[in-house]
Amino acid sequence: MKKDILEMTSLSVDEISLILDTAERMKEISERPVKKVPTLRGKTVVLYFYEPSTRTRTSFDIAAKRLSADSISLSGSTSSMVKGETLLDTARNLEAMRPDVIVLRHPSAGAPHILAKALSASVINAGDGMHAHPTQALLDMLTVRQHKGALAGLRIAIIGDIAHSRVARSDCEGFVKMGASVILCAPPTLMPKGIESYGVSVTFDMNEAIDGADVIMMLRIQKERQAGFFFPSEREYSRRYGLNLEKLKSARSDVLIMHPGPINRGLEISPDVADGPHSIILDQVTNGVAVRMALLYLVTGGTRNADSD
């Protein structure tokens, strides 16, 4: 496995399969009454979150602890960042304490690349600006694979604020790489230029996106986006691009509904859909722990079965 997990671009199909297969085995550890194996005993994992995050940080933290690694959490407000230290200086100081893995969430695209270049520790990107969120894409792929058996040939619709979404970008790359077809849907104001270059198709019509989709991935719409005039009102956004039972009628009967969270109930997704029979949103969260366990294990050089100790 590579030293760093920065984006889906640098992962091969084989590597993605290995990660997903490893995560599949990790999943079982979380089902045990004693949810802990000694595999990463003595390894230090730093969770460095420059941006607020509950789900992703907790998920990494649990993943590290279930493998017996020591995890240390730093956040933007408690770190040296507020004292004016640069990212690079912070990184060098961390490195001097010999961590094995640094998990970074940062508002600037490319921030994990700065760390990866400068450090000998492994860097896992837990989301950088609008650029990439590879662990989310991997857990999305794992979740779909569990429900559909395989990824190749599936039709994945991703609907919402594509422009500002690192999840959309990483999902596009991951699913296309694994042989699925991806259709993106957003108002034209939230569809970034050149996104087709991922080998995906684009529509502004939600019905077209839903039609025949095996998976519908809804993206969070950030309320502050109205400051950039991206859409007229939440009301109109919700009417045109929100997923509700009415719109779901035209979907396949076995469609899966996903959302990377946190959801805005009633805005991009109605509560009855989010909690309905097609929703696998909480499976995504469960798989998040497994995927992150797999990644921590693989980047620290794991080859044995994690659960064999």
């Binding site: 990212l87 600037s108 690349h113 609008m130 970008r169 970034p192 270059s197």
Partner: protein, 432 residues
């Protein structure tokens, strides 16, 4: 003190061309004659340079540089900036007003000129601020700036969004004979973007700036230029549509001139792909289509000037996250060689390049220039065949923020004279 430069190909666009000997005496051009005609002067105050195979031109002028004095001397001082200019073959530079404090009054202008007088000799022409503190709120005192020595006014770096203020600036500056230099950017449309809008920005997750953010303001300022009749100079043109707009304006007889920078005719947005902050500038690097349009604009005269927008920054501003990094790159020590690539590619003749780097900037700003007998001896001698590798750590500039570090370039200034004084010399043979 006399200097004889022998056997160079002398080019003063529209005036002189051919192999000639140039005699400099008492700071002035004493004589220029076809090679071998001039009698070698006797006396031990004579230095002779053998310049066969070299090109001798009127001193190059960079009409768009940022020296960081006063305020950010750790990036560049007037002294180090002047040394970088001399090494790049420039005998004169125009310094932008976004120092700290801003050059919006005669006192700062005089301070800059007093520092320049202590530097290596490169002529420094300060450009004053259009608005006080570059805040876009009210006009600076143009007459005082002019009296102190400012040659033009601009709010470079901070686009002037208030069209009324821009109109007044042009009317008022026009009457004083000051050129208005415009940094064309619609801040609202740029919307916090940090690179060119397009596929690469989308793929690497950075907010983009569309060409239109520049072109809209180019069109606005052309309209104001037509309205006021004042002289307008558009700074650092990067976009295809801007070139088109300026071409059309010139066709209609509107008194607009324009410059572009070496990076806009050499690099595309591709240079940003690895989040390289040395490829971050404003306006941003664009696409190949834009580069082609810049080439065409240089070729057909739409773009009058090549200026560097020399913008020194330290690692403090550049070794950070891309979206947090400061805009701009240094250019004084690479500009000439990058310009010569245009000659190599057939975009410009050598004469055309010298026009863009000397004759035109002088004309636009009303500065003396040219190889006239009796004129101040501001001269650049270029070895067009010298192949050299860019080593940013050996630059005269304090800063190293260049995307061209490690590039192999061809052509270099080997002798720079201001007022007949050698302010830079490198590997040039002296004879007797």
């Amino acid at each position: 003190m006399r200097i004889l430069i022998r056997g160079a190909q002398v080019i003063d666009p529209g005036f002189l061309e051919g192999r000639m000997d140039v005699l400099v005496q008492d700071g002035r051009i004493a004589d220029i004659q076809p090679e071998g005609v001039l009698k070698v002067p006797s006396g031990n105050d004579v230095t002779i340079y053998e310049a066969a195979g070299h090109i001798l031109t009127p001193g190059l002028i960079d009409m768009h540089v940022h020296f960081r004095e006063p305020g950010q001397e750790y990036k560049e001082t007037i002294a180090t900036g002047c040394r970088a200019a001399a090494a790049g073959g420039f005998t004169a530079v125009c310094t932008m007003p976004n120092t700290s404090p801003v050059n919006d009054n005669g006192q700062i202008t005089r301070f800059i000129l007093s520092r320049a007088a202590e530097a290596c000799g490169v002529r420094v022409y300060p450009v004053g601020a259009i608005s006080k503190s570059l805040e876009g709120g009210s006009l600076s005192e143009f007459e005082e700036l002019k009296e102190a020595g400012a040659v033009a006014v601009t709010d470079d770096g901070e686009p002037l969004m208030n069209s009324l203020l821009m109109r007044r600036a042009m009317e008022y500056a026009g009457e004083l004979g000051l050129t208005v230099i415009s940094h064309c950017e619609d801040k609202g449309l740029a919307h916090g973007g940090v690179m060119n809008e397009g596929t690469i920005a989308t793929r690497i997750g950075l907010p983009g700036i569309p060409n239109a953010a520049e072109t809209i303001m180019v069109l606005r300022d052309i309209a104001l230029c037509e309205l006021t009749g004042a002289r307008l100079h558009i700074a650092h043109v990067s976009a295809l549509e801007s070139v088109r707009a300026i071409r059309e304006a010139k066709r209609n007889g509107i008194p607009v001139t324009a410059e572009t920078a070496p990076h806009y005719f050499t690099l595309t947005e591709d240079a940003v792909r690895e989040y390289s902050t040395h490829a971050k500038m404003n306006p941003p690097l664009r696409t190949q289509k834009d580069v082609d349009a810049i080439w065409e604009g240089l070729r057909d005269g739409t773009l009058d000037v090549i200026a560097t927008d020399h913008a020194p920054h330290s690692p403090v501003e550049k070794d950070v996250e891309f979206d947090q990094a400061a805009n701009g790159i240094i250019g004084l020590e690479t500009s000439l060689a990058l310009g010569l690539r245009l000659v190599e590619s057939g975009v410009l003749s050598l004469t055309g390049l010298i026009e863009k780097m000397s004759t035109h900037p002088a004309r636009i700003l009303g500065l003396a220039s040219g190889l006239k007998i009796g004129a101040a001896a501001d001269i650049t001698v270029i070895d067009p065949d010298r192949v050299w590798t860019v080593h940013a750590d050996q630059f005269q500039s304090i800063s190293r923020n260049t995307p061209f570090d490690g590039w192999e370039l061809k052509g270099k200034a080997v002798l720079t004279l201001v007022n007949g004084v050698v302010i830079f010399k490198e590997r040039l043979e002296t004879g007797s």
